[in-house]
Subunit: 403 residues, 2 copies
């Protein structure tokens, strides 16, 4: 008997019709002779509505109490989904994060799963029950409820698949796979049949909005076969698997990420360790820094620019202000009106002409590049936000039309 | 340092203004130097809305999944209330039923508290935190979430007060005490300064809607001082305490209960054990039977009439139908258009004229009585539902105007 882990996102269970629809899909997999464990997100906009409710009372509520509040969203959807499966007449049980054995660290609002105690899960599977698990949540050592942060339900699903040694982990979303570019922007974008973990990791963290990067990291670490599929149709999705199992492509896809803010520290003293000071302050707050650019020093001074997520901008600016006696920047500039446009492909590393071709495509489209960063399998550029969609189309045309 | 347990009902926390209001009251008690533990219900109509959501998907959802769903209501209100107290700037922590150590039996939807493991509660109180506990819920031996049934948050509060040996348990509602009759029906109803557990028990189970009877039973068992107060004003409430501490009154109050259905089994064989057969079937379903009336046998047959809560009527009728080869009733009649009107008072037992005076008051008001039941401290009559309010006024005038 195979074990299938499925994950359904918030839009897949947003109303009673969709809940029934998802219930029928789960039962289909169950009736085909598989054991089924399902991770579910909160319905539709529930999480945002709960956040709104909290803000009306306290703009600065503690993260512990926010997690107590937000975790109810998934608890509602697991019980409703279980009821829908009961209606179809299959044995089913819903489990909250703590009931399903999810233990996390203490970082409220953005906790990491430390382990899953699978005893209860295995007990219920042994009874041939369909097990519906609340995604996005767990408990820490003190038995306090924690949430895993945005996209956490994907991570819950992959963690379940890894802990239970599942045959496949199917991630159902409102798109039916991973595309060479966002089909809303690029009309002739193509769906990928498969993609490697590393390429998917770059795409996920670059704003492809299909899978959360933590979940892909975990899938890579535990070698979990991921399938990205649509919960609305039966199209074949995209399989994410080990690099040795997929064909190396020069460029796998083009992405755009608007959730970027750029900060420039101008006229920082050009002494060793200066960059370390700044970035260690930021990492202490659990904020990720993405692109970093340091100008060549002049007159003993240099400029340091870097990007963070927009939601972290205020915190970082405050940090810089509070520590400017150490940092000693002449001026601090920032902008939110920028986007990061990237190309990803495992074949890139062996082909020197890729960057040139990308810059040429942007030059031909008269789009200015303000920062550049490269890794073995990606090249990212920062452009004006209003130019970003044109940039994606231009790059997609240059690389992917020929496939 | 005193320990005060407070309970706030759903209407007391129904919107953000009321949540802030309750937070201020709690902080007042805390700032006066008390330790404070608070049990809270779900906000306003949340529970009903969740039940509605469930019914849209499955009219016959299992009680286990219903409890999983409904327990989110209190989890939302405890986190919001904790955020409101954080905003005022006092140390606070919210705890779900299981986090607060509530262990119950396995009866989903109507569980009984078996014990409270107070370790976590005491830990938090030792840190001088205000502790906000989700009422109405606990977990059973399998770590499944259970709910205590309607009025369960009162029981949660009393159980907390008993387990923590609190100095007082204050129940805040939208009325400011226990009255001689429902003030919406009887204009000149008077608030009682105090009342005994036994009298309150009769009033609670008779539909006074102030305290749930389980909570009063528990208060009596563990000798918890209960204070019923309004969450909207600072009026002195009503104290519920031991019978030896309150003055014995002939009639303490008049109540009406519309949530009554009468079932009559006509022409049942007049043999010993017949009544036992019927009522053992009903009690197996955890359904409470209230008034019971058995006619004197004639031609070897008799009629048995009894009342149950309206919500249980269908289940009982089905039970009777399924078992009619054992019960062998010639005919089964039932009605929901009836009310139970009762008078309660510890002085009644020593005064034979009370029943006569009650029946006389109803006779003068031309109200017909269809069933009568008496105990040491109460007399209940069944009347047409449309006559019930007039009956309450007539009886109140006869007994309580003279006080």
């Amino acid at each position: 008997m195979k074990l299938v882990v499925q994950k359904y996102g918030g839009s897949s269970v947003k109303d009673k019709e969709r809940v029934m629809n998802v219930a029928r899909r789960i039962v289909e997999t169950y009736d085909a002779g598989n054991n089924v464990v399902v991770a579910v997100s909160a319905q539709g906009d529930t999480t945002d509505e709960l956040i709104e409710k909290a803000k009306e009372i306290n703009e600065n509520a503690s993260k512990r109490e926010m997690d107590m509040l937000l975790s109810t969203g998934e608890q509602i959807s697991i019980s409703l989904l279980a009821m829908a499966i009961e209606k179809i007449g299959r044995p089913v049980i819903s489990l909250t994060g703590w009931q399903a054995g999810f233990k996390t660290d203490k970082t409220f609002g953005n906790a990491r799963i430390s382990r899953i105690d699978t005893e209860r899960l295995k007990d219920e599977l042994d009874k041939r029950k369909i097990v519906i698990v609340a995604g996005f949540q767990g408990i820490n050592k003190n038995d306090d409820i924690t949430t895993l942060g945005r996209g956490g339900s994907d991570t819950s699903a992959v963690a379940l698949a890894a802990a239970l040694n599942a045959d496949v982990c199917e991630i159902y979303t409102d798109v039916d796979g991973v595309y060479t570019a966002d089909p809303r922007i690029v009309k002739n974008a193509k769906k990928l049949k498969d993609i490697s973990y590393d390429e998917m990791l770059e795409l996920a963290s670059l704003g492809a909005n299909v899978l959360h990067n933590r979940s892909v990291e975990m899938a890579k670490k535990y070698n979990v076969n991921l399938a990205v599929k649509s919960s609305l149709n039966k199209n074949e999705g995209t399989i994410v698997k080990g690099a040795n199992k997929v064909e190396k492509m020069l460029v796998r896809g083009v992405t755009r990420d608007n959730d970027v803010a750029r900060i420039s520290l101008c006229g920082v003293e050009d002494t060793p360790g200066k960059a370390f000071t700044i970035f260690s302050l930021i990492s202490k707050e659990n904020i990720g820094v993405d692109l970093i650019l340091q100008s060549i020093g002049r007159d003993g001074k240099k400029d340091i620019s870097f990007t963070v997520k927009e939601e972290d901008l205020d915190t970082v600016l405050k940090l810089i202000e509070e520590n400017n006696d150490t940092i000693c920047a002449d001026d601090v500039k920032f902008s939110k009106d920028i986007s990061k446009v990237s190309i990803v492909g495992a074949g890139m590393v062996t082909n020197a002409g890729v960057a040139t071709k990308m810059f040429e495509a942007l030059y031909n489209a008269h789009i200015n590049i303000s920062m550049i960063a490269t890794s073995e399998i990606k090249i990212s550029v920062l452009v004006d936000q209003k130019e970003a969609e044109r940039a994606v189309v231009a790059i997609h045309d240059a690389f992917l039309l020929e496939n």
